[in-house]
Structure formats: C-alpha cells, structure tokens
Amino acid sequence: MKKIKFSVVIFIISLLLVIWIDLPESHPVLHPPVINFKLFGRTVKKEFKTKMGLDLKGGAHLVFLADTKSLKSSDRDQALEGARNIIERRINFFGVAEPEVKTIKTGPDYKISVDLPGVTDVASAIELIGATAKLDFRILGTDSAKIATDTPIFLQLKNNTKLTGSDIKKSVVEFDPNTGKPVVALEFNSRGGKLFERITEGNVGKPLGIFLDNMPLTWPTVQQKITGGRAVITGEFSLDDAKKLSIAINSGALPISISLVEQRNIGPSLGAEQIEKSVFAGMIGLLGVFLFMILYYGRLGIIASATLVIYGLISYALFKIIPIVLTLPGIAGFILSIGMAVDSNILIFERIKEEIRRGQDRDTAIRLGFGRAIDAIKDANITTLLVSFILFNPLNWSFLPQFGLVKGFALTLAIGVATSLFTGVVITKKLLLAFYKEKKKTKI
C-alpha cells in the first residue's frame, strides 16, 4: 500500500474546486459556488459568472463625442463626468440590465461610451441619451395646502418657476465655516440671480425643488430671501453626496452637446449562433489534437491530453473568477492558446525522448528533459505576453487601441499562455512522474 502524498491531495482538491467554479450557472443544483459572507462587518460577495461581450450577447455599443470646445480645459473633466452621470441615470430609467457608461479621453477628444446589453430598440435609446439634460426649479402648487400632509414633498412641488439650468453659472462643494460640514454652493448669472431673489422672497419657509430631467434632486427649505445671485444648500450631506449633487446640478447647467460617432449593434441571435459555431470548431480542433497526440506519443499523449483538459478547466475558471468579458476574438485567443499549450508539452516530450535515447532511465530523463525544456518555454512565451500586454493596453493609454474586441483577444491569449506555463510545466511533470514510470522488473 502506497502512502498518498500530501501534494496529491491538494492537487485533487484544487481540481475539484476549479470544476465547481466551471459548472454552468443556470443549473439548479450543480451550479458554481456563491461566496457571500461577512468579514469584520464587510460583506464579501462573489459570484462566478461567464461574462459575455456585446458581440456574443447582443446589444448596442455607442460612443458619443462631447463638444468641449466652448469649455475651459479645467472644467472639461467635471462637465464630462456630469454628462456621464446624467446618461447613466437616463439609461437606468430605460431599464437596461448591467449597462456600462464610461468616459474616454483619446488625445484631445473627450468621449462617452455606452454599452447596452440586450437593447434592440437602439434608435430610441440614442434619442434618450442624446437629449440635453434639463434642470429646473419648482415650488409648491397652489393647492398643496389642501393635500394630505403625508404626500411626499417633492410630489407637491408642481409649479415650475422660470429658473432653469441655463441660469446657473456653476455649482461647487464648499464647507460651512461654522460646522465644517460640506454644503453645495450655487452661483447664478444676472438673470438667474434676479429670478432666484424673487422666488426665495415669495417662498420663505417653504421647500424649493431642484429637478433634473423631471426627477427631484433635492428640495431644500428656503430660509430667507437670497440676493446677490449666490446660494448655499445645507443639509446632512456626506462629502460624496454633496459632490454628486453638485455634479448633477452642473450637468444641467453645463449641457455639453454630444454627438454619436460610433455605434455597433448586434442582434441577440447572431451572437448565439457565433458562439455555437466557434465552440463547435474548438471542440473539433481539440479532438483532433487529442487524437494526434495519442497516436504519435502513445502514453505520453494521453498525459498531454489530460493536461490540456486541466488547462482548459483552469483557464475557464480564471475567466469566471477575474471576471473576463468573453468576446468572439477572445474565444479565438483561447483556442490559439490551447495550440500553444500543446507546444510546451511537445517540447518537453521531445527532450525527454532525447534523454532516453542517450541512455538515461525514465526518471532521470523526465527530470533532465524538464530542466532543459523549461528555459526554452519561458523565453519563448515572453514575446507573446509582451504583445498581449500592448494589445490589452491595461492602463488605457490613449495612444494605443482601446477597443473591446482586440482587448478580449489579448487578455484570453495572455491568460492562456500564463496558465499553460503553469499546467505545461507543473502539472505535466506531476502526471509524468506519477504515471510514466519504468515498468517494474519483478519478473525475470
């Protein structure tokens, strides 16, 4: 009876864990784990899902160019951020699951990219996003005295004043000199200042609502008549809240005009068909490689195929853990990396065979062959990692490509190569030493 090694136990446990993560998430019983626990008061939550890109899932990718020419360069970032927040709010209104709104700076251009998974009615989505943000001030309706007092205040704010976002010069976060708490300061232009004076005069002690795109932002109570075109909104804000409010007010005040410069819409059926075909192609390829390796290398080939399966399982688990947005070129990168992973095995096997030809016994041949092959494998894969790094552009340098498709390919290729370094070297060696031993010469 052989003693089971500790490392073997760890290997099997890790493999089971990887398989667990790889399980399809839709199955009621056999689904991947969901991590959800509290650690020192913080909730740690992690689900292992396959994230698919728009080219596979279907949906719309829209890129808007912001016209920032009329703005001072110091105001641009904030204006863009304001526009981004507005767009995000509008999309949430539209009811899209997991939208993604990002600001992009490429050279002198400021852009906003919007990903809308599953959206088919792109025309109305574009219209909704492109509408200029509208900020206005509202006061209590004349009939509000009669309404039951449990109606939320912002619903009672029915009467529009003529004061709008275009009357606001800017809004900034300041700190109350007495309490040190953050407050939101408003600065009006001359027309706005006069209007504001009149409104506050008539509404002392009453709420004044600030609405963005017909959604209430805040409804502070007017303390006194405010002259001079400057006002301060106080309240129990956190610094973050105050900043958000200020940005929201600004985005109404500084409606940067945006224009659509790029859109890519993929119907949901197209993506599904492409996945099916590509996965099918990958399977055929994989079977071909198994067959070839087993026919040519015999027992070694079986070990290589087992390593490849483990390699595939680990890579897929990594895609889910990180998580990586899987695109069609990403699948191609993964398939290519499988081809390259086999290469490490072939290199190792050829070296081992060479050592055996030189008259070494198998155990020594495996150890020597590995040592020799690893140098070449490491050296050789560095260039691939280098190119994937440039293509992936992790720091979003504006002089390098930032498109999702290329990134998807680079990322899966890089992860594939890195994983294959691990599986090709560590796991193959373990398997070889375990299953490719000299036949015991007990009978003579």
Binding site: S269, F292, D343, E350
Partner: protein
C-alpha cells in the same frame, strides 16, 4: 542527422516566390478595408426567405448611395454604406422590407465616424510600432549575439511579408477585410515567429557550447533534433485553427485564417529561414574577421 541546410537555395526560392506573389497582390489588388479604418456603416439584415439576384439588384438601385455595396447570402443581406444614422437606417430597412416582402431583422448595425476611424488607424499603427520595438528589444536581450538577433528579425520580417501578402489575396478572392483583428493577428504572428525562432536557436546554442564543429554542422544537428517538434507544433496549431477557419463564427473566420497562416509561417521560418540566415551571417562575419 539530415543535412537540411543543403537545400537553402530551395527554401529561399519558396519564400521569394510567395512573398513576390503577395507583394504583387498588395500593389495591384490592395485590400478591402473594414469600416474601422475607412469609416462608414455596415448593416446585416436577416429575412425569412432566400433572396434572388433580381431583388438584390433592385436593392442596390434603391439605395443608390455613392460607395454602397450590397451582398446577399441565403437569407442574409449585407450592406456597406457611407456613414448613416439610425433614422436613415429605418428608411433603408423599410425599403428593403417592401422589395423582399418579408420581415427584416437587424442582425448587425455598425457605424464608425471619420474621427473614430482616424483614431483607430493612429492607435493601431502605434501599437504595431511599439510591439515591434518591444520584440526587438527583447531579442537583443535574448540573443546575445548580433548574428542571432539579426537573423531572427529578418525571419520575423519574412513572416510579416508572407502574411500581409497572402491576406491581400484572401481579401481579393474571398472578401477578407483588413480590420483591427487582422492587425492583431499580424502582431501575434510577429511574436509567435520570435517564440519559435528562440526554440530552435536555443538548441543550436546548446550544441555550439559543447562542440567546436562549424556552426553549419551544429545547426543541422539542432534542426534534425527540433524538426519533429516544429512539425508537431505546426500540426497541433493547424488542427486547432482549421476548424475555426472553416466552421467557426463568420466574424472571426478570416481572423482565424490569418492566425493560421501566421503561426504556420512562424514555425516554418525558424528552421528554413532564420537558421540558414544565421549560418550565412556567421560565415560572413568570420570571413571579415579573417
């Protein structure tokens, strides 16, 4: 040991012929550039029945925009147009609906504005240049000798030329588009070319260390040893990529084809281009030193 280097002239001839045909194709046929690089709109409509040639011609006539192109494949209509917006798309969709008298589903609607395409050209070019510089820098580090580095670089340029040339043929005869994915395939090919050369040169270096015989002898020995690996490696990559090229998703079909050509050339060039070049350059420097 097989004397692989005996046929150096044959290898040179094969490479020169393929590269010449490719370059000829580039200069006469050029490429079909995707909207990533030219700007414009790409539409793919799915309808419920097959389209005949007459209907295709009617569609072509109805759209009647400069630079527009209509392609039909079974129940799918592909349109390539100058940049249009989503309202114009609806107009075109309605027109086609009338012509084919069937439901029309938008399977793909991509629009790239001129500012975006300019930016894509700029960023992909700089990515290619930076990748090339990075690979060269790594090679000077990996191959301590100038002769090794130079022959590896030349082999890489060889692979680059073969891929851009054959892709031009694919573009002309099968409609493959020069897009960002092709640039990606090109960069992958370059890295793979170096990857493979390192494996072969590593072996040559190993033999040169223990034997004082001329480089050509050691190179032949190394080639004999690594040939099985080179062929097997090519074969596995071919086995993985051919199904993807033939039955994989349409959008990555030519990408897979480009990767296939690139990786196979990359493996071929290490023993048959880089190594003969190395031996040649080595002889040249020895003659000079004498």
């Amino acid at each position: 040991m097989i004397n692989f280097l005996k046929f150096t002239k044959l290898y040179a001839l094969v490479s020169i012929v393929i590269i010449t045909i490719g370059l000829y194709s580039i200069f006469t046929f050029g490429y079909r550039y995707s909207i990533d690089f030219t700007g414009g709109t790409l539409l793919e409509y799915q309808i419920s029945k097959n389209i005949n040639l007459a209907q295709k011609n009617v569609i072509q006539k109805t759209i009647n925009k400069k630079g527009s192109k209509v392609d039909v494949k079974g129940k799918v209509i592909f349109l390539r147009l100058p940049m249009i917006n989503e309202k114009e798309e609806v107009v075109i969709r309605d027109q086609i609906k009338k012509i084919v008298s069937s439901n029309v589903i938008v399977a793909r609607f991509e629009t790239v504005g001129p500012s975006v395409s300019r930016e894509i050209v700029r960023t992909t070019t700089s990515a290619a240049i930076i990748a090339a510089i990075g690979i060269l820098a790594y090679m000077t580090f990996a191959f301590k000798k100038v002769t090794h580095g130079l022959s590896a670089v030349l082999a890489m340029i060889h692979d680059f030329l073969i891929l851009v040339g054959t892709y031009s043929l694919l573009s002309y005869f099968f409609g493959a588009e020069f897009d960002t994915l092709f640039v990606t395939a090109l960069l992958t090919t370059m890295s793979f070319s170096v990857h493979d050369t390192i494996v072969v040169f590593d072996k040559i270096r190993e033999y040169s260390r223990v034997s004082v015989k001329p480089l050509s002898v050691n190179a032949n020995k190394a080639l004999t040893e690594t040939m099985v690996r080179s062929i097997n490696n090519s074969l596995t990559i071919i086995l993985m990529l051919i199904p993807l090229t033939l039955v994989g998703g349409e959008t990555i079909r030519f990408f897979a084809a480009a990767l296939l050509i690139g990786t196979v050339t990359g493996t071929y060039s290490s023993p048959f281009v880089a190594t003969p070049l190395l031996v040649f350059l080595d002889k040249l420097t020895r003659r000079k030193n004498r």
